[in-house]
């Protein structure tokens, strides 16, 4: 607990909140009960911090005076590992960053290396990529909804969303054998041709999950307690989002219409019609609505993609040994959580000189302190949930 480690940590907290008040207690030994301010460690083992996030909370009763995030408990040195692997060998590692949206991670990396190599994936591969990525966006948003609702105390949506997410994972399993860390794409296209009945499976999933989204909304959207718990909680304006680099649904819920799928289309996204749902208030409720709308938009993209999927090769012609020319590249995609960028420096050898990942969760997590200051403990939970962070991606 916080009281166990006074000194440095205590001082940083007091600096960040501006003031600290310790009562004069004479000879008696001071305990945490003697001050008005209570320093609490939320995490790294805490049911609502989505893994191993540690948030040091400074509380006045229930009111949050300040927070400090301590990250790194899940650091695996993914970026460093890249420097000792060939380009193809590093591909599976990126799946382990945002493990609930592994397909998006793979897509971003493959496209970045393709850009570096100056090759383009064939159209059919691009369509398969879009379909799998959008399926993954569904899965990621469903997992977010379930856990977010669970944090706020609604335990039932979790099971509904997991039931439906299972269908996505089944499609992944049939396609490439893995359910979570799929390693679905290869540099230059896709390794696997779609299996027999893939289109029907996706179509069936789309028709199956469309009414299910209504079901989630029925449980939450007009639920009085849900609205009270989320409206006006964790407000952040569009300008503040931009200043902090916050992207994804959080940015869009603040009224900024920014989606990389539209802004700088990659894969086959320029072929599809879809809207960018935005909110106005930038609070937790708007972020919830935006994500619900995004799920519907994903279904829209899936419907179009299944209709128009072209025939043809799925792998571009690339050499067996990948030796990109000397240079550097930054390529970013719209992952379910925001802008996922890869900055790769090549020195002309088979291994990247440096890979830097711009993870959406890490950047979005910066906004936590600003969003919860002055609010209550329960709101911290709600805001951590609504930021939709995955610690594997924050720490890498």
């Amino acid at each position: 607990m916080g009281a166990d480690q006074p000194g440095d940590r205590e001082r940083t907290m007091s600096d960040s909140t501006g003031h600290i008040s310790h009562l004069e207690l004479g000879d008696r030994e001071q305990t945490f009960l003697d001050s008005n301010e209570l320093v609490i460690n939320m995490g790294p083992q805490h049911p609502a911090t989505h893994g191993v996030l540690r948030v040091i909370l400074k509380l006045d009763g229930e009111k949050v005076l300040g927070t400090e995030c301590v990250i790194g408990y899940l650091h695996r040195g993914v970026e460093k590992i890249a420097e000792h692997r060939t380009y193809a060998m590093f591909n599976p590692y990126v799946d382990r960053m945002d493990y609930v949206a592994a397909v998006s991670n793979g897509l971003g990396y493959c496209e970045a290396v393709e850009k570096l190599l100056n090759v383009e994936a064939p159209p059919r591969a691009n369509y398969i990529r879009v379909i799998l990525t959008e399926l993954n966006r569904m899965a990621s948003h469903q997992l977010w909804l379930g856990t977010h609702a669970l944090d706020i105390g609604a335990i039932t949506p979790l099971f509904y969303t997991f039931r439906d997410r299972e269908e996505v994972l089944k499609i992944f399993e049939k396609y490439c054998g893995a359910r979570l860390t799929t390693h679905a794409f290869r540099i230059g296209g896709c390794l696997y041709e779609t299996y027999e009945g893939f289109e029907q499976d996706v179509k069936k999933f789309v028709d199956f999950v469309d009414p299910k989204i209504d079901e989630y909304e029925e449980l939450l959207t007009t639920n009085r307690i849900w609205v009270e718990r989320t409206k006006g909680v964790g407000k952040i304006s569009g300008a503040e989002c931009k200043a902090l680099g916050v992207t994804g649904p959080v940015l869009r819920a603040s009224g900024v219409k920014w989606d990389l799928r539209k802004a700088q289309p990659y894969a086959a996204y320029s072929d599809f019609e879809f809207d960018i749902p935005t909110g106005q208030n930038g609070d937790t409720y708007d972020r919830y609505l935006v994500r619900m709308q995004e799920m519907r938009q994903s279904l829209r993209i899936l419907r179009q993609a299944i209709e128009r999927i072209p025939e043809g090769p799925i792998m571009a012609k690339i050499p067996k040994v990948l030796k990109p020319p000397v240079g550097e590249i930054y390529h970013s995609i719209e992952a379910p959580k925001g802008e996922l960028g890869y900055f790769i420096v090549s020195d002309g050898s088979t291994q990247p000189y440096r890979v830097r990942v711009r993870p959406p969760s890490f950047v979005n997590l910066q906004a936590l302190d600003m969003m919860v200051r002055g609010q209550l403990v329960a709101d911290v939970i709600a805001v951590i949930g609504t930021l939709d962070i995955v610690l594997g991606e924050v720490d890498r």
């Binding site: 609490i40 609604a154 335990i155 099971f159 307690i225 718990r229 329960a378 709101d379």
Partner: protein
């Protein structure tokens, strides 16, 4: 001996009022046993019902359909290592769960399962119940304090504030029901639990329908306040899992924790039985004024037996559906045996002397069971309130409405 039992069965006062220590003791033992079984059953039912709301099966492995799961859990809790945090205040830590469980059980002294089926009938019964059950907040605060840890402390602070605030709304609702009981020739109401039910009987209506919608509003206020009072979802902030890990009993484990668990469930049953007594006619059967006559009496008196037969039928149906693999043979036999026991109880309940005597207990239990189901239903559907919102609901919504209903009830009562 038989004579003695018969003479008791024919008496028309509770053992406490008659000053009969022996029968009072028997009742206490019966209530304690019944309550323990109810808590065990409730544990299983909650997990099963919640599971089915959440499209999963719940416990299925220990015994057929997980019927033995609560027993396995209880056994596990009993043989767990007794951990007391090194920094805890030993004595307070030790005594807190005892206070909570004691208060939760003590209130059942005045709960009337029938006109004579209560340990005693106090003339301040309602007051006694509210008073004693509100003492449990003391145990909660002590538990939070003695743990010497942050989360339990916040949990205890929350729950003390919450229980104290909602008691006021609860009290106002109760007073309006008590006011209704004074609508007789003498013009005096009663705080006796049995007296209130008898008032509903003589006025020919349950208080929930009295002065419609005044009785209903008072009932709804009570129904909301009692959920907050027992710290259950959506008012389960003191033990909000996602915020405070487990709230005031974070540091408790094993047997001490199971005492908190026991207390929580028996408190739920206790407040539900207050609600049933005050608004839903206690032990009275439904439609006792509309569907009168010996035929209807007979029909309603068959309900207890029929209920058990339905339960038995469900058991037999599940027995048929059990997997045929030899591995499940013992479970299948156990389930069938359970069904046979239920069927036998059902048949015994059809016998005329038994039939007439268990009626009131049956109707009371059914009404309480309805509230228990509501508790589970709330838990399955509602998110959790935030602390300030909880206080807002208590002080700014329930309290004014409660006062308004109380005044309105008084005015209407005076006018008619």
């Amino acid at each position: 001996m038989l004579e003695y039992i018969r003479s008791y069965l024919d008496s028309n006062v509770t053992p406490g009022v008659a000053g009969n220590v022996f029968w009072a003791f028997v009742y206490i033992v019966l209530i304690f046993l019944g309550l323990s079984i109810a808590v065990i059953a409730m544990n299983w039912l909650e997990r099963k019902i919640l599971a089915h709301m959440q499209i999963r099966l719940g416990p299925m492995r220990v015994g057929p359909h997980g019927l033995l799961q609560p027993i396995a859990d209880a056994l596990k809790l009993l043989i767990k290592e007794d951990i007391m945090p090194a920094e805890a205040d030993k004595f307070v830590f030790w005594v807190a769960p005892l206070i909570v469980v004691l208060t939760a059980f003590t209130v059942f002294i005045v709960v009337p399962f029938g006109p004579t089926h209560a340990v005693t009938d106090m003339n301040i019964g309602v007051l006694f119940m509210l008073g004693v059950s509100s003492l449990s907040v003391l145990g909660v605060v002590m538990a939070g304090w003695a743990s010497n840890s942050h989360y339990p402390l916040i949990g205890a602070l929350r729950s003390s504030a919450q229980m104290v605030s909602y008691e006021i709304a609860m009290g106002l609702a109760v007073v309006s029901a008590v006011l209704m009981s004074s609508l007789n020739e003498r013009g005096t109401g009663t705080l006796s639990m049995i007296g209130i039910v008898q008032a509903q009987q003589s006025q020919g209506t349950w208080f929930i329908f009295k002065f419609f919608p005044l009785g209903l509003i008072a009932f709804v206020i009570f129904a909301i306040a009692m959920v907050a009072e027992t710290n259950r979802a959506p008012f389960d902030l003191p033990e909000a899992e996602s915020e405070l890990t487990a709230g005031f009993h974070t540091e408790y484990s094993g047997f001490r924790w199971s005492l908190f668990f026991l207390a929580e469930y028996s408190a739920m049953i206790a407040v539900s039985s207050i609600a049933v007594t005050l608004w839903l006619g206690g032990w009275l059967r439904p439609f006792s004024n509309w569907l009168t006559g010996s035929t209807w009496d007979l029909v309603f008196s068959l309900f207890p037996g029929v209920t058990f037969l339905i339960l038995a039928a469900m058991c037999f149906y599940s027995t048929i559906r059990m997997p045929k693999h030899p591995y499940f043979r013992i479970q299948t036999m156990g389930l069938a045996g359970f069904g046979v026991v239920l069927a036998l109880i059902g048949l015994v309940l059809f016998a005329p002397p038994v039939r007439d005597r268990v009626q009131d207990i049956y109707w009371f239990s059914v009404k309480v069971a309805f509230f228990m189901y509501l508790y589970i239903w709330y838990r399955g559907t509602f998110p959790r309130y935030r602390f300030d919102q909880l206080m807002k609901v208590g002080w700014k919504v329930l309290l004014p409405i409660g006062i308004a209903v109380l005044i309105a009830t008084a005015l209407v009562g005076v006018m008619f």
